[in-house]
Amino acid sequence: MMDEMLRTNSLTLGFKDRIVIDELDLDIPKGKVTILVGANGCGKSTLLRSIARLLKPKSGSIELDGLDMDQLSTKEIAKRLAVLPQSTSSPEGLTVSQLVKQGRYPHQTLLKQWSVEDEEIVNEAMTSTGVFEMADRPVTSLSGGQRQRVWIAMTLAQRTETLLLDEPTTFLDVAHQIEILDLCHMLNEVEGKTIVIVLHDLNLAARYAHHMIALKNKTIYAQGSPEEVVTTEMMKQVFALDCEVIEDPITLTPMTIPYSKKAARRVKESLCIIEA
């Protein structure tokens, strides 16, 4: 059994003349939660989108389960890999179950239409994301957190081993952020899914990731366990921010406390008081 199910070979990504990711070789471990971090515009979303074949690489290749993605049909890929893009507009006039059902699309053909098995898989996906009770409600009537769970339910109905999520917690309050990440954690623990997430919140990333990848200068700056990746040096290099890194009192994972102009003033003030 291979330990990597997703691998990029000298992958170069970009738009027109601008290169965003340059000759990247990346392995994503199987059955783990991998979280991509980096400054705005560092190409982490671009990388995720290209792995999900939503963006064509300029050069290089991506391997899925040891197969070149270019050789696989887009429907075949959809049976192995599910993606939740960043900007999902909630489609008008669809109920929760109608939306989740779309996840079965790659498994259907002109001859093989909706089956009892499909129905069961959809119900299961709605149950494990806790949206089963809202099955007949229009998606547009739901809150942001509920909507995101419905979208995740749709990707679960796809029954793939790998799940890619692009900033799934954006626009959610902190309680719903935890809820979504707990759900990802559960899917990894219980169902053994390989999950790749692009996330902005470093402290949450360090909590939930088995494997972290920090991107800078069109390539990987650091990768490994959260303890290996989240350091004061990485924060300085990748985010150009001075930080203290302490231990998260709950999970014992690294936690960053940034310095800021205001904090600096407070420190100065207290120093003045001491001097006086």
Partner: protein, 336 residues
């Protein structure tokens, strides 16, 4: 908005009611007019047409225009539904896409420069014009850094529409002799269209409807968003090309037969969605019947409103459509 007919059962019952309403409208369309003709004469006329029998002649004319109305109504309605799905814009329609204006312009060119009179030949010009306008609008709305955007497509459509309308007017002003012949095309009419003219259009419309039914399910998926659809293994660009092709085949056919008939392609999909929501197979089926019913009745109204003269059907649909358009536009803005 949520659909009113939730279960498959209720959707089937709704469809049966629509079919009954359709038959009633067809009957009305053949019966209503200045000259009263007993309905059983219709069978005689169909079985053994006698060109010297005045009743037969009247029936033949009414049947022809009913056939035109049905064909145009269902084509424009389904075309509008396809374009609204493509652009995710509730105000999209063949008219907004410039398809009508493109077709009209080519027809005027054919009449003015090539002195073509036969409707069957004009049809191909109309079709080419519709295709050119649709491709121009799609390219203008798509090319650029941000890619395809519904708003840019509608803006491009408005521009192309204005361009072709200006060209058409320019040609007519410089060549007034053709004005009479073109005027009815511009107003939109189903009068004096012998059934033979419809014959080349029927297979095209049939093929388009079959393709529409086959891509109904992928269109359901497209409704969830381009990237979601791509992620689920849909070849989105190919699907969009097919949608445009179907929309152009249908709208091009409709314009070729009846000229500029507005609003049908805009409002019928909304009425259909009100009942069956965004399941496109049902939506297409409902559009077929609602479109036909609307056009049959608009034609009857046009025939009897100011007897002995007639209001062109395009004017009737505009009278019904304008308030509806304003309603949708206001509702749409409130939502976004």
């Amino acid at each position: 908005m949520r659909e009113r007919l939730l279960t498959t059962r209720s959707k089937i019952i709704g469809l049966i009611l629509l079919i009954l309403l359709f038959i009633l409208s067809l009957y009305m369309s053949i019966q209503v007019g200045q000259q009263q003709v007993a309905w059983y004469v219709m069978f005689d006329a169909l079985m053994e047409y006698d060109p010297t029998n005045a009743d037969h002649v009247v029936l033949y004319h009414r049947l022809s225009r009913a056939a035109s109305a049905i064909l145009i109504g269902l084509s424009l309605a389904v075309s509008g539904a396809m374009l609204q799905a493509l652009t995710r814009n509730p105000l999209a329609s063949p008219g907004v896409f410039g398809i009508n204006a493109g077709a009209l312009f080519f027809v005027v060119v054919a009449i003015s420069f090539f002195s073509i009179q036969a409707l069957t030949s004009l049809f191909w010009f109309a079709f080419a014009g519709a295709l050119l306008a649709a491709v121009l609008v799609y390219v203008l709305g798509t090319v650029g850094d941000e890619g395809f955007s519904p708003v840019r497509v509608v803006l491009a459509g408005t521009a192309i529409n204005a361009l072709f309308v200006s060209f058409t007017q320019g040609l007519l002003v410089t060549n007034e002799a053709n004005l009479d012949r073109v005027l009815l095309w511009m107003a939109g009419t189903v009068a004096n269209r012998p059934i033979e003219v419809l014959l080349p259009v029927i297979p095209i419309v049939m093929v388009a409807l079959i393709i529409a039914a086959l891509i109904a399910k992928p269109m359901d998926l497209l409704h969830t968003g381009d990237e979601i659809a791509k992620g689920l293994g849909q070849r989105v660009l190919a699907l969009k090309m097919l949608i445009i092709l179907v929309a152009v085949m249908l709208a091009g056919g409709a314009v070729a037969v009846g000229g500029m008939i507005g609003f049908v392609g805009l409002i019928v999909p909304h009425i259909a969605r009100f009942f069956v929501g965004h399941q496109h197979l049902w939506l297409i089926l409902y559009c077929v019947f609602i479109g036909a019913i609307l056009m049959l009745n608009a034609d009857v109204v046009g025939r009897i409103a100011i007897q002995p003269r007639e209001i062109p059907i395009g004017v009737v649909t505009a009278l019904i459509g304008t308030p509806f358009f304003i309603y949708i536009a206001r509702k749409g803005f409130k939502q976004s």
